[in-house]
Assembly symmetry: C2
Homo-oligomer: 269 residues x 2
């Protein structure tokens, strides 16, 4: 009986954070990170016992999250029910981090290896400068042809070697990933480009958005984007889009949930 | 001929700012202010000539603006056309301040004395904590009955002595103001309460929102709110709402524009 109870003493947190003040998720020297902050808060709540969070991925400095996922093995004592833990964490964490959900998962659950896919949204400000969204959107200098971007994005959907759209290609074994969908939506003055896929390489979305922006401004054509993808050479691709327009929206652990994902509004609400 | 040209050498700026980093609009010691920042930037653009901005009102520390108004007398040289000035200011100002419009006004125009009215929106977060809007909305602890708040707000519309809803009553001659409308709109998880009126006293909106919140949580009733208004005594009123949920939306110089004002979405987009 003890054993079956132990099957559920791992908790999965759904975490939202404003990336502007952090050097990303993962603990590193010389910069505050979200992992460090939440681990320290959990350690306080569990009476000083060391808590180690396993995140679903790394995120770059400045990138935001609506639904980052991280799990930890819960100490036997003190017992804190999930809803109480959520409230306690939100009470102790700064405004720039919010816990949106706390869920029991099996002990053998792994926040990184068990992911079925992810959704990311990149926000582009098509209108005037605004002080409220300047940290949550990229405002390119030139006017964008969204229809051309939408058409060109079709070349990226599917299973491809994305070597042309990754930073530090030499550090990874395999640059083949599957993009299920790239959705373009306009809410007010914001263009939101939502990518769903089985996984994304380091800075891949920012590289892809940089390339799509080059299509939108007419710097490259849709067929040229296709050629760049086929060349599998990062040096051929346009610039990388800045981190502050990017939001990790959702980490999926069930493949069925991926196609159901739909952005309802700009992610910074 | 020179004289008729001189009739238009005053410019009116429409200014949007994130109030979190500022001690309000008006220059004061020991705290950066929006007025100081824009004046210094204008002085740079006008080759070191001192520029003095006249604002439409003061704003409290932490309060935001979508459409603050301020005017200044333009030096004869160098000549900078309005659209160029807007771009130059936005290029030099930090992300937390944006110039939305630059318009020529007659030399005898006064940004404060000529106002016909103002619109303010107060944002209340009805849902979960979110790191992106924590500086742009107030999240009261208790659940709110919006229908009760809407009904009670009807008592405030019209011409009244608002002495019960003002800080530093002794500093002002006359607390009679006219509220034209109080509009309740819900966008996603945000309740936006928009006040239009011929003018508002120091902290009046925050006092009114504090009272409406007390109605929403059941602490006081609608008729009690009416009694508090009639008592003309600040000590009778509930607490003041925090500054970070408040946005000055628009300063009207034409009375006809006031009734046309309609909020389209949350103000922090």
């Amino acid at each position: 009986m003890d054993k079956s109870e132990n099957n559920f003493n791992r908790l999965l947190l759904e975490i939202s954070f404003d990336g502007r003040n952090y050097g990303g998720w993962q603990i590193q020297p010389n910069s505050p990170t979200v992992q460090e902050l939440i681990q320290e808060t959990l350690t306080k709540l569990y009476s000083g016992q060391d808590i180690k969070l396993t995140g679903s991925s790394r995120t770059d400095a400045g990138v935001h999250a609506v639904g980052f996922a991280a799990s930890f093995a819960v100490p036997a004592r003190p017992h804190i029910p999930p809803d109480k833990l959520k409230k306690a964490l939100n009470g102790l964490l700064p405004d720039s981090v919010a816990i949106r959900g706390v869920k029991e998962v099996p002990m053998d659950f792994h926040a990184r290896f068990d992911t079925a896919g992810k959704a990311y949204t990149y926000v582009i400000n098509l209108g005037d400068e605004t002080p409220f969204a300047s940290h949550y959107s990229w405002r390119p200098y030139l006017k964008l042809d969204i229809e051309k971007m939408r058409e060109a994005a079709q070349h990226l959907i599917g299973t491809h070697d994305f070597s042309s759209f990754v930073v530090n290609r030499d550090d990874i074994d395999n640059a083949v990933r599957t993009i299920y969908n790239i959705d373009f939506q306009v809410f007010g003055q914001y263009l939101c480009i939502t990518f769903t896929g089985n996984g994304f390489l380091y800075r891949m979305i920012r590289c892809l958005v940089g390339a799509l922006e080059a299509v939108g401004t007419g710097k490259i054509s849709g067929p040229e984007l296709k050629t760049i993808l086929e060349q599998k050479d990062r040096r051929k691709a346009p610039n990388t889009a800045p981190p502050y327009g990017l939001f990790l929206m959702k980490v999926f652990y069930d493949k069925e949930d991926i196609t159901k994902f739909k952005l309802e509004n700009v992610p910074f609400l």
